[in-house]
């Protein structure tokens, strides 16, 4: 499984990468901004995108809409990732291919399993 992590924090990207890669056996691609994420999504065609909400310049929601606009990336399922307790806008975005919202910190051991489950069942609650 190829995962694209779009998050402006380097530490997070590192740790998440390592957890998903080493513990989850996933193939991880990183993008440090929304803009970069769009490009990498188109180029790498991942199975799922982990999208951070709060990023400078292009935030998660905008990145999501742009992904949807681009026919190359519009079908890729997106899981939002955030520290925030609440993400009310998620309900609107659910229909458009946003599968779930996961909170940070994640459970390193189960992270990949969670992602697989989400992909399988199509939607799930916050953790």
């Amino acid at each position: 499984m190829k995962v694209l992590i779009i998050d402006d924090e380097e530490d997070y990207r590192n740790v998440a990468s390592m957890c998903l890669g080493m513990l989850g056996g996933m193939d991880v691609v990183e993008a440090a901004s929304g803009q970069e994420g769009l490009q990498k999504a188109e180029r790498e065609n991942p199975d799922v995108i982990l999208l951070d909400l709060y990023m400078p310049e292009m935030n998660g929601i905008d990145t999501f809409s742009n992904l949807r606009k681009n026919p190359c990336t519009s079908e890729i399922p997106v899981i939002f990732v955030t520290t925030k307790g609440m993400f009310p806008e998620f309900d609107q975005l659910k229909g458009q291919g946003a599968l779930a919202v996961l909170t940070k910190p994640f459970d390193p051991v189960n992270f990949s399993a969670q992602i697989s489950d989400i992909l399988k069942s199509g939607s799930q609650n916050t953790n």
């Binding site: 307790g85 910190p105 051991v109």
Partner: protein, 747 residues
Amino acid sequence: MRPRLKLVHKGIILVTVPLVLNLAFLAILSWLLNQSEIEVKRQVRSKEIIAQANSLSKLFYDAGVAMGGYSITKSPLFADRYDKIVREIPESLEQLKGMVGDNKHQQDILHNLAQITERGLQLLGEAKAAIDENQVDVAQYQARHMYKEIRGLADQLQQELKGLTDEEKKVQDESPESKSRWQRGVKVFIIVGVGVNVLLAFIGFFFFIAGISRGLNVLTDNADRLARGDKLNLPIAGGDEVAVVDNAFHTMAEALAEASRKERAVIENAADVICSVDADGKFVAVSPASEATFGYKPDELMGRRFIELIIPEDVNGTIKAVRAIRSQRGTMPFENRVKRKDSTSVNILWSAFWSESERSLFCVAHDITERKLAEEAIKASERRIRTVIENMMVALVIITRDGRIESVNPQAERIFGYRSDEMVGRHVVMLFQESKKFSDSDEGADHEKFMENLFTISLYKIGEFDCMKRTGEDFPVELSLTEFQGPEGTRFMANILDVSERREVERLKKEFVATVSHELRTPLTSIRGSLTLLNVGALGALPEKAKQVVAMAERNTLRLITLINDILDIEKLESGKLDMVFDTVPIRNVIERSMEAVKSFAEQNGIRLEAGGAESMVHADGDRLVQVIVNLVSNAVKFSPKGETVRIAVEESPNWIEVKVIDRGRGIPAKYKNLLFQRFQQVEASDSRKKGGTGLGLAICKGIIEQHGGSIGVDSEEGHGSTFWFRIPPVNAGSRVLETNLEQKTA
């Protein structure tokens, strides 16, 4: 019993008795008069009889003479004369007859006379005849014969006549005597009669008048006695008008006495003091109520000046008031304070009336101390209320059912920026941002709809609205309406609280929490990830010691993460925004997941887990329920001794699904049971260090269950374990769980 005679009767008697006597007297007098008349007539008659008798006798004599003459002379003169006389004699006899009347004796005499006369006349007739026929001898013979007879007859006649006249003469002789006797008798009679009459009249009059005047005296005396207040004389007996008046007088006196008694009773029993004060200001009469009101018995006040009782400060006012009453002759109430016998003072309301005729001031003193106190209390209370209303932080707007503003308090003026006169009379919608949307055309309907909405949301509840200041600026409020009855009808009081600050604070807090959580969670993500990677050996095997240390770091990291999650959850709960996603979930599923999550933790602590079966479906956020059950079971495991069992039981009933977590731990003392579900509560402070936990868990569980429309609690006895339970509505039979209505406040 004396006859009941009216005055009329008495008057009649008074008049008729003398009258009758007079009449009798008159009758007798007239009889006497009659008698004397008869007497006189008799006298006259007897004189006439005598005269007549004499006349007859003369006639007879003359007849004899005439005859003699004729017989001698044979002159026709004598014959004529004789004829004449002969004719006259019967006439005279008749007359005499008539005069004699009923007297029997005299009638007899007359009869004799008639006979004699007849014989005589006969004889004389014979003689005359003889003479006429010139039978002188015969005549002479007869004459001598006749003469003897005639002489005899004449003597008889004379005899008889004498008899007649003697009788009459007797009468005549009697009469002066009897007459004078009569006269004397009559005189005496008259004198006596008149005297008696007058006497009787006087006596009658005297009694009559005396009777009346006695009666009148009694009446007059009674009137005096009544005025003095003495007992009346005995009632006058009798049925006449005076007695009737006397009776009426007695009745009136009774009625007066009764009225007086009633008046006395009123005065003596009245709670107010009724008194009168003379022209010098001294008490002349005081009712018994003075003891209760002033502390003085009535006799203690008699003769004292009434001004002495008044408190010095009020004396001038009292004097002025009394002067005014005296000059204007009306009653005008005035108030003052009176010093009682025990030196306490009472507030008195005086009603006084000045009577010029009695030269007294009649007063009623009413104790208004309590009323004054009540008035003071009311005034004080009003002042307090006004102070409250004017200073309170909540704006008050009073409106009618249609929404007309009747009054506002100063805080309302402040928060809306209007003066009260700019708001009163206008429709309350002017204060709401809604009004911006209204059209001018259908104001009535708009207003009606607005009011309906207002009542629905905020009548006896707290509703949230956007209000508008005078400047047009919007600001959020919390508003609640209550209904009350004003003097003019049903009114509504709107309590309006400007919550803009609070909202701002909340917003800031949310932002802060969000920011902090973000800032805390971000590094923790990396830390946790790193530590876990280390711990599981993904970055290479670690020495044993290092493993332990990393494990410890990981544990503590987890603790931090849990703490932050709990804090955030609590914040969300308290702002009503705990995110939950409801679905129809089988309770069995929830239980299984919970068991799974807690399994290793229980194993580590040597506790066995048991769970009962369950078939029901619930309308719930499954993950959150798992969170609750995990919390409860973790607690149960923490506080159970090693080797014990923690059981999860499910009870299904039509109204509730109840989940119970039963442990055999040390139990919870009664005094803590109510505190458990509050924030940061733990039964023993040392617990937090030994067993771990922030004390937020149960509070969060409570919040979650209550968001499900359920309830949570604990049954426990110290030393005998605990049963933590929660109930949520099942998904059938119209159970509706409170959706997380993000705009509604939780309790």
